[in-house]
């Protein structure tokens, strides 16, 4: 949209979402879309609620386009998608917990994020006060003589995020794993509601600390789409640089941590050296180790100095030297390969059904990457290879991470070479005219992060929905550990490395 067309644009009757329009559908249309999801014609990206409507985002087949639809539900109920398409189930349970909208015909009516400890029911829409207790939770039954249950968490022996895992095991073999999450619910939806854009950007950056750059970028892109802000080219490149540095740091951290869970601490020691150097270079270049709050709607808050660019280039050269050695250490240690190969298998069909992104999807043959598929700037101008595998085991998830490391190194090099000079932030202010909506799909290190937001005429966020890639990865972990042994769970879990915080909101 150029300046002239903006002048002539009339106030839309219904806030239309940019860059992908949001359509209203009736129950029939909603059910038809749910059926097409179940048939695998489309892929589910997200499902979220508001006080009296539900929204669904889908990926259209074979074109880089999202489809966002809305169903009004003044009766407080909507036809369940999860009943026919299981990946939607947990999202619907979360909608029910937060907004009190009932999914009719759902296969699972248990509460998900709400454990009965908030003192409120559906806090985001017409909250009801209740006695703050702990709701009983009926885990799915497993029957049979030799089966026994192993409850693990939410507090673990190590310092990790809280989550409860209920294993039903036959001796050492896992028959069923059921996750129970929601222990780090922070009320992000509520915090976003009524926040100014600056404050909302800071909240978005704190949804999941290890993906802070990706979340900031996704939020900024959604705001920029809603207000049609032109981001300066240098800022676009700097954002991609930060995103790739975050990806590199997290992948090295993960590779080391996976090996450490097989008691191979040597790999972790080496990987942490690399990760630490990335974080230190990030701190000296951008003023924060994790680069939190460095991306803001309209651009970036810090510029990259010449000497920092040189230091980053030196670091890239060093990592390019280190990576083959780390690959050799991983691939040639037979005791380690014995643990990772064949462990925690996820089938391609399941990865496609759950539209699972990131290394989990890519290791199982679903090569979706928002950088390529959506092709947001500057990625269409850069050349890089997205790794893929069809093996679907822990080993494949490590190899895909190595492939992504190579891709990110390629990208960082190109950015350092090609980044144009110029301003780093666009001068803009939310115009005081009408309610706007924007959406964005950004590739974080775990997978695609989806953001949809609506900003009122007075520049205040009315509703912001952030969907972490982990929503579709957690259920696959349950499938991956089935028929493995209990002692292999930490290895599988670390190879997924799903976010608790991003999921529990």
């Amino acid at each position: 949209m150029n300046f002239a067309s903006k002048q002539t644009a009339a106030r839309p009757s219904q806030p239309t979402c940019l860059p992908w329009p949001r359509e209203l559908v009736d129950e029939g249309g909603w059910l038809a879309l749910a059926a097409s999801l179940a048939k695998g014609e489309r892929e589910l990206l997200s499902l979220w609620g508001e006080s009296s409507s539900v929204h669904m985002a889908m990926l259209e087949p074979r074109e880089p386009r999202l489809r966002i639809v809305t169903l009004e539900c003044p009766e407080g109920a909507f036809p369940s998608v999860g009943g026919v398409h299981p990946p939607a189930s947990r999202l619907e349970r979360a909608i029910h917990d937060l907004y009190g909208l009932r999914p009719e015909g759902a296969s699972d009516a248990r509460r998900w994020l709400d454990h009965g400890r908030w003192g409120l029911r559906h806090p985001c829409s017409a909250p009801e006060k209740i006695e703050s207790t702990c709701d009983p939770y009926a885990f799915l039954p497993t029957e049979g003589e030799p089966l026994h249950q192993i409850p693990v968490g939410p507090v673990h022996a190590g310092i990790i995020e809280p989550g409860h895992f209920r294993f039903s095991a036959n001796g050492e073999t896992v028959v069923r794993l059921e996750e129970r999450l929601g222990f780090v619910h922070k009320g992000i939806d509520q915090l976003m509601c009524g926040a100014s854009i600056e404050r909302a950007a800071r909240i978005a950056a704190r949804v999941s600390g290890d993906s802070t750059v990706a979340y900031s970028l996704a939020f900024a892109q959604a705001v920029e789409a809603a207000f049609d802000v032109d981001v300066p080219p240098r800022a676009i490149y700097l954002r991609a640089l930060m995103a790739e540095l975050e990806r590199l740091a997290n992948h090295f951290g993960d590779i080391g941590a996976i090996c450490n869970d097989a008691a191979f601490a040597l790999m972790q020691a080496q990987c942490n050296l690399v990760r630490e150097r990335i974080l230190r270079e990030a701190a000296s270049a951008f003023g924060h180790r994790l680069m939190m709050d460095r991306i803001t709607p309209g651009g970036t808050t810090v510029d990259l100095k010449q000497e920092n660019a040189a230091a980053l280039l030196a670091m890239v050269e060093w990592i390019e030297l280190m990576t083959p050695r780390l690959i050799a250490l991983f691939g040639d240690t037979t005791s380690l390969q014995d643990r990772t190969v064949g462990t925690g298998f996820v089938s391609e069909a399941l990865a496609r059904q759950y539209a699972c992104g990131g290394y989990v999807g890519r290791a199982s043959g679903r090569t979706f990457d928002a950088r390529k598929a959506i092709g947001y700037a500057p990625y269409p101008r850069l050349t890089f290879e997205v790794g893929a595998s069809k093996e679907g085991d822990v080993d494949a998830r490590v190899w895909v991470r190595f492939d992504e490391v190579k891709a990110s190194l390629q990208i960082v090099r190109q950015i350092l070479d090609d980044a144009p000079e110029g301003p780093i932030i666009a001068a803009w202010a939310p115009p005081d005219d009408w309610t706007r909506e924007g959406a964005a799909l950004v590739e974080g290190f775990r997978g695609d992060i989806f953001v949809w937001l609506r900003i009122r005429a007075d520049g205040v966020v009315q509703r912001c929905h952030l969907r972490d890639p982990s929503w579709f990865q957690w259920p696959l972990l349950e499938a991956a550990i089935k028929d493995n042994i209990v002692a292999d769970f930490p290895l599988c879990n670390k190879s997924f490395n799903c976010s608790y915080s991003g999921h529990d909101l």
Binding site: D261, A262, A263, A265, L266, Q268, P490
Partner: protein, 317 residues
Amino acid sequence: MTFLFDLVAQGAQMLLALALSPLLIGLIRKLKARLLRRKGPPIIQPWRDLIRLLRKEVVLADNASWLYRSAPYLIFAMTWVAASLVPTFATGLMFSWSADLIAIIALLGSARFFLALAGMDIGTSFGGIGSSREAMFGSLAEPATIMIVFTVSFVAGTTQLSEIAAYMAGNLELRASVGMALVGLLIVAIAENGRVPVDNPATHLELTMVHEAMVLEYSGRYLALIELASALKLLLYVSLIACVFFPVGLARHDARLEAMAIGLGAYLLKLAIGGFLLALFETSTAKMRVFRVPDFLGAGLMLGLLATLLVFVTRSL
């Protein structure tokens, strides 16, 4: 006079084992940290941890029985007695006349039995998992140890460890059967002490633990006793391997003080070498799957069996 001297020698070796065992753990941790390019805690840190634990309050589960409370004392006592039966720097231990190698294995087996019971006592699932895994490993490790004991006993003509050590020190020669027994004992020692690749002593992952899972609910002085007992067990195995297979520098029980001093120096050197090799091995390998451990221990058992057969065959020729 000899009696008094022997008593002092025995007492000195017992206290030495007690004092050195946490230091051996500390040394291994330090070496592993250095191999991973970290500084690592000081070697004395395990002692500091033990003293800290002794000062701490004990937190007990409501349904803990008398067994749970008495098991740490039993485990510690049995392990210490077993450790005091293994010659460190001099042979001819006084206690050797009352208990032989088979008694050492029986003591360690009893300690394992009580630890496994204590692991199940409170009824948490991790304790149960740890106990079941420990029982599985133990049922393979103990026969393997017995086979190895038979081998060295046949070679030396006695089951008394002091005499075996004295015989080995006096007849330094290469024997295939003893070599096999050594490899078998190394495998057993790694499994028995819960080291990588069988168990990871540094893990924080409750689902993969074996030894740590059984003691997960212990705290305060009980935990200190169990930790000290497991340190003693590691020292016991290193001492056992050193005195039977590498008895260089081992002093005779009637030797003069200078020889004793040389024996002590040689012993400390052997401990350091043992610790270094263990740290190196642990750093270079990943932990194996729980169900691969029986294969690993099975190899130890087969080596012990072959060694025993080999001794028989060579004898009869």
